[in-house]
Symmetry: C2
Subunit: 193 residues, 2 copies
């Protein structure tokens, strides 16, 4: 699977269940959001614009995606708002294989300037995304346990120290055939307790 | 890194912050536990005993670990108790490379009979562990963002459908130098909202 296929598989509407572990506080914060993903072909005007913004030849991009989201977290202040949208373009750097490259982005949440990240598909066909901002860096890993269930983990470092670790399970809306129906108190099945 | 090195890196006392996403209910449950891990050499009597219990030649094992844990989850009933211990032995199946093999276990949480799982180190030196029980199967992935921070994700399928997804961040106790000191409300930094 190349990265563009991964984004095409992400197309549609998702309900995201999110938990952030605040590492210094040893506290968990939970939240929910709805995410809409639209894959964009290489010749979409938005892709061309992003490439030009980053001074990349638009012909080197294989396409990208438009993503919007709307969510809330448990510790939100009254005026806090987790609504946003972004457009990004993929530019492979692995001679046309398409599993590794640069992700050019309109803007990050934290900063208004354009942001570029590195992406790579790993040996389990999960997408790894590394983004460095001014004062923080984020590593994310996305996986598809099934076509309608997406998971992601991310760690954020601020000023060199791990700050938060976040875990999301995301269901495709309108098709929850894969949701388990036997939920119960979790068991400590692991060899690590 | 081979799998035994991974378990040696896990040696010591850990504080685990755990979140379980109950997929059918779209609800999150949080909990905490303390975990103690002791690496065991191949000639440890407990390793030899586990191998014999599974009818494996003890000379094929490279060692294993002894793990104890004590924890609680938010939805626990009054008599519920997440305390336990297990011993397991690693038997590589990749001609001495040690990155892939069978994990022989004294017992799982759910069943009293001996359990065997498959382990494998992936291309990011994370440990993947797959365990099939009678009515459920679990896939776990463990990673070390730093020497004192371990993360794991796991999905559990019951009767063929995804039931729970769990995320743990685990700190080595007595050495939290890596804990971030800038915790704040999490930002939606991701391209996926």
């Amino acid at each position: 699977m190349d990265a563009m296929e991964f984004f095409r598989q992400s197309t549609g509407k998702w309900r995201s269940q999110r938990t952030t572990h605040h590492l210094a506080f040893r506290r968990s914060e939970t939240g929910e959001s709805e995410i809409y993903v639209e894959a964009l072909p290489a010749d979409d005007p938005r892709i061309i614009e992003i490439c030009q913004m980053h001074e990349h030849d638009p012909a080197t991009s294989v396409g990208g995606a438009y993503v919007t989201w709307q969510g809330s977290m448990g510790w939100d202040k009254e005026d806090e708002d987790h609504t946003g949208s972004t457009v990004f373009a993929l530019v492979p750097t692995d001679d046309g294989i398409g599993r590794k490259g640069v992700l050019l982005r309109e803007r990050g949440y934290a900063e208004i300037v354009p942001v570029a990240g590195q992406y790579e598909m790993d040996d389990q066909d999960c997408l790894i995304l590394i983004t460095d901002y001014d004062s923080m860096s984020a590593i994310e890993r996305f996986s598809f346990p099934s076509n309608n269930l997406r998971m992601r983990t991310s760690t954020v470092k601020r000023f060199g120290g791990f700050s938060t670790a976040t875990f999301c399970t995301e269901f495709r809306i309108d098709d929850n055939a894969d949701a388990g129906e036997n939920a119960e108190s979790p068991q400590y099945f692991s060899v690590f307790g």
